[in-house]
Symmetry: C2
Subunit: 160 residues, 2 copies
DNA sequence: GCCGATTGTTATAGACCATTACAATTCTCC
DNA sequence: GGAGAATTGTAATGGTCTATAACAATCGGC
């Protein structure tokens, strides 16, 4: 089996299969279940693209958001990620320890810190974005370009 | 905030929002990210449908699979769910403790047990299925019937 | 009949994340 | 202008989920 260097192991190393001879009953009519199977499949694409990088989807998302919104506060970061403030803080700690981001005082407010990518962070995030996007496209190449666009639109409509 | 009776708490109580004024950069072009947002949204539908039932998506899936495939072994169950055998066993323990399923010897093989729904399990699972399906449809009603079908097809094609 | 594979099981450990509480600071509004 | 409410980041704690590893019993192929 495909072992990983213990920390930062993904939850699933293999896609959720559709086992032959098994009756899936109502599951195949549920958007929720089908969504999850597709998500696991695409998670593998992400894992492939970031192999050896000690990164996870939340970390990647945090890096991209900080890169595109320099000086964002940790509460706002948590809100965007859909996690609690304490979780956003741990992500920020991680980014800082890796030298990818820094906290800087913000002039207006002495409570809020404001997170910024470092120069090295900018470089690495740009590289990651290229790789993740390429792999996401490659893995979803089972769909044609039109289908891919339509899927994105449907998903966004669903997520509101 | 919306508190729940400590055990069996869902991971996310609120949808992942699209915060106004925030630049999402490449995220909005990633199937993986968009998929996750949609999945969280639909998870809330599930949570709504099973409120007060001490159930989770893996538990529900296990119950449905056992119901539709009586006598399935725990290894096969784990494979269908995409989890390790040990996890399938704990799910089976849970179903048994709740009186929803039972392990029975299977004639051919004295290693494998074979899981079956109890009469009460049959009843409860039927009820759950109705509720979950109804809520899944309700929550995805933002899409028209045709869009919903197309989304299902695209997701299945993606998950392979 | 023996060796490898498979099944269920148990124990352990780690990742992830929410909750709670706290101090510092800012905001509200009278 | 001042008191109380709200917000920010932080730290400590705990719970849930699930994989990993090791084990005994059993089966299958040769």
């Amino acid at each position: 089996m495909n072992r990983l260097p213990s920390p930062h192991r993904p939850r699933a190393l293999a896609p959720i299969p559709h086992v032959a001879g098994v009756d899936y009953d109502v599951l195949d009519e549920l958007i929720g279940y089908t969504l999850r199977r597709a998500q696991v499949a695409m998670f593998l694409a992400f894992h492939e693209a970031t192999r050896g990088l000690e990164i996870t989807p939340p970390r990647f998302t945090a890096l991209v958001i900080v890169g595109a919104n320099p000086g964002i506060g940790q509460s706002a970061l948590g809100q965007v990620l859909g996690i609690a403030r304490s979780g956003a803080m741990m992500l920020t700690d991680w980014m800082e320890q890796r030298g990818l981001a820094e906290r800087h005082q913000r002039p207006g407010d002495r409570r809020a810190w404001g997170v910024y990518l470092t120069a090295r962070g900018e470089r690495e995030v740009a590289r990651m974005k290229r790789r993740v996007l390429a792999e996401d496209r490659r893995r979803s190449a089972k769909l044609g370009a039109g289908e891919r666009r339509r899927l994105l639109a449907l998903l966004k409509k669903l997520a509101g």
